[in-house]
Symmetry: C4
Amino acid sequence: MHKLTQEILEQTITKRANATHKGDYGRILIIGGTEQYGGAVIMNALAAVNSGSGLVTVATHPSNFTALHSHLPEAMVTDYTQDLTAFITKADVVLIGSGLGEQLAILTATLNSVRSDQILILDGSALTLLAEHQLDLPDARIVLTPHEMEWQRLSQIEIAEQTPAKNLAALATFKPSPILVLKKYQTEIYTADQVFQLTIGGPYQATGGMGDTLAGMIAGFSGQFRTSLEQAVLAAVYAHSAIADDLARERYVVLPTQISAEIPKLMHDYANKKLTNL
Amino acid sequence: MHKLTQEILEQTITKRANATHKGDYGRILIIGGTEQYGGAVIMNALAAVNSGSGLVTVATHPSNFTALHSHLPEAMVTDYTQDLTAFITKADVVLIGSGLGEQLAILTATLNSVRSDQILILDGSALTLLAEHQLDLPDARIVLTPHEMEWQRLSQIEIAEQTPAKNLAALATFKPSPILVLKKYQTEIYTADQVFQLTIGGPYQATGGMGDTLAGMIAGFSGQFRTSLEQAVLAAVYAHSAIADDLARERYVVLPTQISAEIPKLMHDYANKKLTNL
Amino acid sequence: MHKLTQEILEQTITKRANATHKGDYGRILIIGGTEQYGGAVIMNALAAVNSGSGLVTVATHPSNFTALHSHLPEAMVTDYTQDLTAFITKADVVLIGSGLGEQLAILTATLNSVRSDQILILDGSALTLLAEHQLDLPDARIVLTPHEMEWQRLSQIEIAEQTPAKNLAALATFKPSPILVLKKYQTEIYTADQVFQLTIGGPYQATGGMGDTLAGMIAGFSGQFRTSLEQAVLAAVYAHSAIADDLARERYVVLPTQISAEIPKLMHDYANKKLTNL
Amino acid sequence: MHKLTQEILEQTITKRANATHKGDYGRILIIGGTEQYGGAVIMNALAAVNSGSGLVTVATHPSNFTALHSHLPEAMVTDYTQDLTAFITKADVVLIGSGLGEQLAILTATLNSVRSDQILILDGSALTLLAEHQLDLPDARIVLTPHEMEWQRLSQIEIAEQTPAKNLAALATFKPSPILVLKKYQTEIYTADQVFQLTIGGPYQATGGMGDTLAGMIAGFSGQFRTSLEQAVLAAVYAHSAIADDLARERYVVLPTQISAEIPKLMHDYANKKLTNL
């Protein structure tokens, strides 16, 4: 098991080339947020935009449009009950599942529409729906971001039995082979043949929405740092907790939205290798 | 009468253990907020989330969903006119009454649904409804947070007559025995056999919503520091005014939302015993 | 003509007594804000709450509730097309007119409901409606806050002719005798027999909503500093521009909402006579 | 091709005269923002108000009113599907097109209503609609703000062929002669006979909404600095990227709303020639 260090940030977060435009930094489509769980997609989007995504569209319940725009006029919105094919077609990255609740039809329509060159991140309710309805994964570049209970539902491995060996074996049964971000104390990231472990972060992150912010960062990083999806995911996971650790120097609990606000500064510091403060 | 000191914070606010998750820090259900008084539950929720609650759900009038999410995407929402049984079942702490107005049916349904192992905090309109309709308290771990007039309605003791002895006697008639937070100049907290007095705080707190923030902090602390409900309540009351005192060093009036924003820093300082600044 | 100095702040803004509560600091009712002009009452309310008002209720078009609560959960709301009598009865101060548009019926109902012991502040559209419909002022403690064009409509004095002598003469025809805040370059404040002039402030304040913030401050100060309505109005006018001057040290334009955010600090400094920075 | 320097800010941003009022600083009408793209007009308006506009009205889809007021109570709103003639008549500057989507009727009605003395800024979707429907420009003082693809649609010049000479030639076919702000790496600004180039700014600006903020700044500057429309446009373009450069000293990506928040400080510094920090 490889322990992640700040090297992953130094390798991944590079200075942007001058003659580039927003299309170079990822078109992200976020799908989720029932009327009850609208905050989840707001946190997804805050994380993606602050990670440097070029264009972010949020497909959600219309009752969430105003709160999203109150936080983030930078994002576009659309009603998730309408046909999303045109939006999916234009996206580099699709993140579905945060606060999606029981919206099975939206999930299946999305699974049916993504292309093999697209990155598809499955989070939260999407993972529970996948497990409950035994849905197949589409041919795409897939990232799964379950916590331990969601992984139990997906893999049939009880939490107490979730060892790296068993997790790798279970992951091998998924086609196509996804990247697995198993959220827990010392989060583990699985690729087809490697396991990485996060050794930073802490219990000040134990608050609702923390995973929604992480999913948004994974979307933002993977749409932007395109040489390696694995590397982008690892960097997002590490950056998320590195910011939390920094904020926790003076806070007992760290709110997900506070993490998003700090992303541009952390990325700047790593792109410029000014690491003294982190 | 015991005077509260910062010792209560030192005793109560402890460092979090590493391998913990949001379920360890309290599932809070906040019920309140008519169309007119929606701000009350927003202030409840800001206080609870900033106090470190793991998961906060707000059951309120749907017209309040957007403003709540504009402040706090970290919270989940649900319509308080729908059946709340499933939400109550999952909660560690139920706070009902801030801005609840005349919603008697919601109060009685809640009183009928709580379990004996749950903490039930009754605030604001819930206290007036209790008194007006002579409702029985359910078998639960109860905290009452009246101001003097609400306590008069509940106890039949005129404000001028509200002495510790009379208040204790009145409290003894409630079954099960609640903790009473009697909000006033030098707030008093009553358990079955003890009286504690707050000697900090000041008139810069004399603004609408201050009590809603306190109720949210009591919910947050009691869902999180579970060894003693009494201690959690005392710590929340003390912390609320300690922050106000600190903010009042440069403000003539302290807004409730400003107090919530400072909770994570105060808790950090006490968990780490860095008290120089408070 | 008396030139206002910071002495008016030193005289007016006093330390609060300890055993006081929110009822001692003014119950303010703000009436205004059509669907188009909802921002006006948001700015009223931000100014009133930050000035230290005990309780603020905003009667406005329901489409404005959410944006108001996004700024200020501390305020309560109600639909201004409903009967406001009960709200008016409980108020110490009624501010009507900011963004009120053509809502004549709401204005006349309010004029018919206020009592002689209440403070009634007439701003913006209320002043235009007063002039257009030649409405009588009710028996109350009245403050008028017109800009020069609104004063022309009310007094029939062309702007170029608005001299102190003529203004005083025109004011004498109003029954009961109001306080007039004539907003202009070097704003003038008229009582029955005196004229005060503001010599601070500047063109960085020339932005929409500045007057709504001033009206909210007048409401906040007059509900709180009750020994003299005249003194409270003068202090609010002076404080509003003193804050603007301070912010303009590093801003080309000062937004109304930025002024409100600074009120608690200015009031603290004057209550404590720490004037070095202003 | 003239390279823009900070001299354009020194020349354009002058100290305001004392006896002035909000009418002197521009009445701006912003038209745009479908239900999906409401964030665009929020960013327009934040930029215009922070640039010092006297009065800003936003004509948009009513679903955007609340989010706009959550950001900016200083702006007024109206439904863009209603007749806007009265609003257009009162405006000094009309900005149309950011997030306007397919609202052709609103665009044509606006083109038919503007007067020759008014400034008309055409942005985003308005430019695409102009090209698709081969609409004539009205007799007004026109500014076009296309990115390269929008300019291709308007001029029929492929992006790779967009040289200054060809752009000038194409621009000469527009009647009346507009100012062209061609947004790209090193943005170019074309008047009838001159070309200016921006050499500041960077890829940290490659995020959605950046152009909406620029359009709002152009509206704000041109409504306020009236001696030369050309100079106002040049100064707005330069200021927009000067702020981005400053923010990018510690941020990997700069959000459009962050730029708007800094406008008053940059303008203050140039009006006072305190340029040390920029």
